[in-house]
Amino acid sequence: MELRSEEMPNGVKLVTLAGRFDIAGTQEIDQRFTALTATNKALIAVDVSGVSFLASIGIRTLVSSARALANRGGAMALIGPQPLVEQTLLAAGIDSIIPIYPNLDEAGRGLQASATAH
């Protein structure tokens, strides 16, 4: 799997994931992803539009990081899942833990609103 990160002007960290988020993909990015998201009060938008396949092992990585972020006063959002990945997220009820947005602008607004709400 590929993982890139970029600090955006609005204070959001954009993390881009691409590839198969299965056991092999998770093993490749899990440590770096967890390290990237282990910052106090960080607002993290995860662009998953390049993820072609999401298994529950990948969901575990996303949810663990989202919970760690919430405990540190931060928040996570997902951007642009492909239909199969979105259906997987909805089947697992992940949209109630990590909100899903169609693009970075909307994710940024949602993350900033959730940060000011706390």
């Binding site: 056991i23 092999a24 298994a55 529950s56 989202a66 997987t88 089947a91 697992a92 009820g93 833990i97």
Partner: protein, 142 residues
């Protein structure tokens, strides 16, 4: 079955990559629609992960048999293991995880139920036999 092909994997999570590659190759060779292959791939990953993670009480080597085939129009995935008896058609999925809870997991069975059209289970001679059916639309649309 009209046709079927089989693969045996060891109870080692690294085997999941070989399983996924095999399913995708079979899908292509047998002209299974891409969306069905994706659903089979996802359900197989979840069901086999579940067996490898929870199915065996002792740490010895086990094999899990996976068979992909077609019965009439339907694509059929069968998974057989000699682990602890587990009937996923009887088990209630755990409550949905929340941001506040510390529980992690329990998503696999929800994913299998969402992406397959029918889940059947039998315990035969000390083996779990799980059958997942993926219905295909009739070519005439009826």
């Amino acid at each position: 079955m009209t046709w079927s092909v089989s693969l045996r994997v060891r109870n080692d999570l690294d085997e999941l990559t070989r399983l996924a590659e095999w399913l995708n190759t079979c899908g292509e060779q047998h002209s299974i629609p891409e969306q069905t292959v994706q659903h089979v791939d996802l359900c197989a990953a979840e069901a086999v992960t579940n067996i490898m993670t929870h199915g065996f009480a002792e740490a010895g080597a086990h094999e899990i048999a996976v068979r992909l085939g077609q019965q009439g129009k339907d694509v059929v995935l069968e998974i057989e293991d000699d682990g602890i008896a587990f009937d996923p058609t009887e088990a209630e999925p755990p409550p949905l995880a929340t941001l506040e809870s510390t529980r992690i997991g329990g998503w696999g069975m929800r994913i299998v139920r969402r992406f397959s059209d029918e889940v059947r289970y039998r315990r035969i001679n000390g083996r779990n036999c799980l059958t997942l059916i993926f219905r295909q639309p009739s070519p005439t649309g009826t």
